[in-house]
Symmetry: C2
Subunit: 534 residues, 2 copies
């Protein structure tokens, strides 16, 4: 290039310059062509692992990528019909302004920088927790690898917590495994369970709608996905008849070996009754299914008529015939509840009735990744071992906890109410978790337009919502839904004031959308008026 | 049981009691038998995912599990021929007593508990780092999920660090991906690359000896492992002729698509010359191989004759024909270097020349697990953005860093020297990383005994070493070695005093072992005397 530059400097006539440019272009093209011939990329869409290609994860899918692009453009000063992108696509509490629980952060900071153990600014109970955790770490440092199953004393604290939660039903810390968030635990257990070929390939039963980690893991592991549909007309209840139907149908072409449950439900927000859990466990017992119960929202129950029952507790109450035989893995996380500590990637699983040899294989598998992040383990420890009534931090901790959970309960109710006030929208009660999953009416003309664009109708809807309002929600098609129905998932995490504005914007958008795609304009306006008269 | 108890109380004659016990026993057996008939476990060694079964990971394998058992027994007061188990099996610096770098922990603690930003006990440069990181986090909280690729400003800091490290060769932060330790990044890239069936199945070239994450990942992903042997007689150098031989042989039964390099070497401790790296890159270019360069020990170079050259830098120095086409992923970690922060699970990868569509697929795959631990990302940020000369923490930071690296250099030399003083042991110089990998002579009688027990001869050796001395090292068979040669891997991480004692114990054990398995006793004693005379 330097040589060419000198040649250019030597002869400045325009004609020569143009010829020079043309020559350069020709050379460059030839170079590219030659390079193209010689060099094909090794890793292309054609050679990529096909199971990776098959993975889909809507919670951070195309809509969210687009939201990021719009956000960047806003920051660069590009005008939009809104001033802010609101990411209601993901259960990420702190990103939505929720404040961390002081006690948890004190303990983790003390573990990170033990010199603070001498600081009078930190309460004794936080110091005691930190000291206990550090005692359990190699070299008393958060920087050591822990055992692959996690720090021993944290596993003991978790077992004690489960015992207390389940009114004294015993929990053995040898059955506890710390994980990198719940996702990592779910992935590890599914990995163990996938085997066989053709009609003996492992089938995994998952609820529809589901949290798309499950379908993504099933794709990646080449297992067979078996859908059982939750009953939207009945507050997203799990119907045992539907479970049987799905099982029988799947039996024809795979070997159903795993039953996944999400309780409280994600994205559907229902809380399962004890009776329902009993039926599910009885079914799993009868049909020899390994039960995976995703209970990461166990602290997020808002409806006064509902109560969280752990699968473990119900299993034990069904008697030793069940409790000594049903293979069960239950998952929990630091990311949800009232702490919302997603970034720490903390979590654990309790595994019951697993064959001891298989357990050794699980530990071997986990050991390849060495250990879950130890700071996340410390965060998990605080959640299972919070300040007690007589301790210094109890009052502040309780106030903070109740404030978060109280606000979530109010926002759950407000979300349901406002969404149900919109014509062409229907939202089941948000009994628990942190999402609303309303059904939305999409006019046939919009469905046709989406089909012409080869996108799901609710994807079109959510894209337009994002572009017009800056609100980012996830289309129901990313979670699965009954054919011909459309939904979106939104979190209830923004502050109450912001959430109200957001919901009103969603309402206005929806009305505009109905109008835009209505056969004539008039009927939509009528519907809106009808509603405001009720 | 209560009812049976009452019955027992009502009739205390011994005869009745015995009959009662017998009845109970019969009932219990029948119950077990029935249960056995009804319930077979779903997840057994027979139904377990066969690829999980195939995984092996010696660094936390049987020897280490046994070491844990012995440690527990020691704690319970069971007498052993030693008072302490020393885990020299894993590069876990803090567990061996290395102190954390103060500045790193200050920054992470500040990020965890931002109230400390007001504390005069923390230096300004640490506060500035923490504020910058928190600015990049959703809601300014370490508790938010980051983008799946990692926090943007941390990726920018990493790119700036790479540019500086590589003397100005440009680094684009869009090519940087934060990971959960290096292992997670390596696993993700391999996952993309595995495809095809039969003779078109992806082959992955790995050095032998290797770090067993590679073989474990290859087993789990069902790829084909292609061994290229490092040249032990030549300080474990990578010989390009051997690379060609391995490639050609593998071409017959698979599609070699990936070339893995570990530099500085693990477990072998060699540091590759620039010339060697050029040859490797030229070979990869010629044969269309995706290069994965594991450079987690880039700060651990001790030999004054050696220097770390990044694959990226050498690639760019080879000219645009190479630098614009060779697909390269390079891995780094918080766990090694002078920080040794294993527990935070921090790391990153830089990816060059990846097809943009494939990059989008990678981000999708990473997004299923949401994000790497944000505290680990923060730790990574400190490593790439340490205090500068004019900043408050510079002096202390530099002192701590030099102290760790200086001690490691001394221990590397001492380890090599003492091991080479043992008859029947030969250790290459520990030029870098944190391990010695000596070759050990195992007498034929010991080999026969091991074969009779169906264990590898060096496994037998390491088990005996553990049982007799409490020293836990990993058999060479867990890393791979030329047939008929035996090795073990030990870390150089214990304090100099402790390491000296450890090495002397290893020497004494080795002499006893030679003696125990010698054809007659006399020759060994002679060897030992010969040695002490030199």
């Amino acid at each position: 290039a330097e040589c060419r530059g000198s040649a250019l400097a030597a002869d400045r006539s325009l004609h020569t310059f143009k010829a020079f440019c043309e020559l350069n272009r020709v050379l460059a093209t030839a170079e590219t062509r030659d390079a193209g011939k010689l060099r094909e990329k090794i890793l292309t869409m054609e050679t990529l692992n096909p199971h990776v290609k098959a993975v889909e994860y809507a919670v951070r899918g195309p809509i969210v990528i687009k939201a990021g692009d719009i956000e960047r453009r806003l920051q660069q000063g590009v005008k939009q019909p809104f001033t802010e992108v609101i990411k209601a696509n993901i259960g990420d509490a702190h990103a939505m302004g929720q404040q961390p629980i002081t006690f948890l952060r004190q303990v983790v900071a003390l573990c990170c920088f033990p010199e603070l153990l001498d600081s009078p600014a930190f309460p004794d109970d936080a110091k005691q927790r930190a000291q206990r955790i550090l005692q359990g770490c190699g070299g008393h440092s958060l920087g050591s690898y822990s055992a692959s199953q996690g720090v021993e004393c944290i596993r003991q604290d978790i077992a004690a917590y489960i015992e207390q939660r389940d009114q004294g039903i015993p929990a053995d810390w040898n059955n506890i495994y710390l994980t990198t968030g719940a996702s990592d635990g779910i992935m590890s257990i599914l990995k163990l369970l996938v085997s066989g070929q053709g009609s003996s390939r492992t089938g995994v039963m998952i609820p529809i709608p589901q949290y798309p980690l499950y379908s993504a893991a099933i794709s990646e592991l080449e297992a067979v996905q078996i859908n059982y549909y939750l009953d939207e007309a009945n507050c997203w209840a799990l119907d045992i008849g539907e479970l049987r139907r799905a099982y029988r149908a799947a039996k024809q072409h795979c070997q159903p070996r795993v039953l996944c449950i999400i309780n409280p439900g994600n994205p559907t927000g229902q809380v399962q009754s004890k009776k329902c859990i009993e039926e599910v466990l009885h079914f799993a017992y009868e049909e020899n299914l390994f039960v995976m119960s995703d209970e990461v929202y166990q602290d997020n129950v808002y409806s006064p008529d509902c109560q969280f029952h752990s699968f473990k507790k119900v299993l034990y109450e069904m008697g030793p015939e069940y409790s000594s035989s049903v293979e069960l893995a239950s998952f929990h996380s630091t990311s949800k509840g009232y702490t919302g500590e997603c970034g720490f990637r903390g979590g654990y699983m309790e595994i019951l009735n697993m064959d001891p040899e298989v357990k050794a294989q699980l530990v071997k598998l986990l050991s390849v990744r060495l250990c879950p992040p130890v700071s996340g383990q410390a965060a998990m420890d605080v959640i299972v071992n919070p300040p007690r009534r007589h301790e210094a931090s109890y009052t502040q901790f309780t106030k903070e906890k109740n404030s978060v959970l109280g606000a979530l309960a109010e926002k759950a109710k407000m979300t349901e109410q406002i969404l149900n006030s919109v014509p062409g929208m229907k939202c089941n009660p948000v009994q628990g978790a942190m999402y609303a999953f309303p059904q939305i009416f999409i006019p046939p003309r919009a469905v046709q337009e989406a089909q012409a664009l080869s996108v799901a109708p609710d994807m079109l809807y959510c894209l337009k919502l994002l572009e017009e309002t800056g609100i980012c929600v996830v289309p129901g098609s990313g979670f699965g839904q009954q054919e011909g129905t459309y939904h979106f998932r939104m979190t209830i995490l923004p502050s109450a004031e912001k959430l109200k504005v957001l919901l009103e914007k969603v309402r206005d958008f929806h009305l505009r959308f109905l109008q835009e795609y209505s056969p004539q304009e008039a009927p939509v306006r009528r519907t809106s008026q009808e509603h405001s008269e009720t």
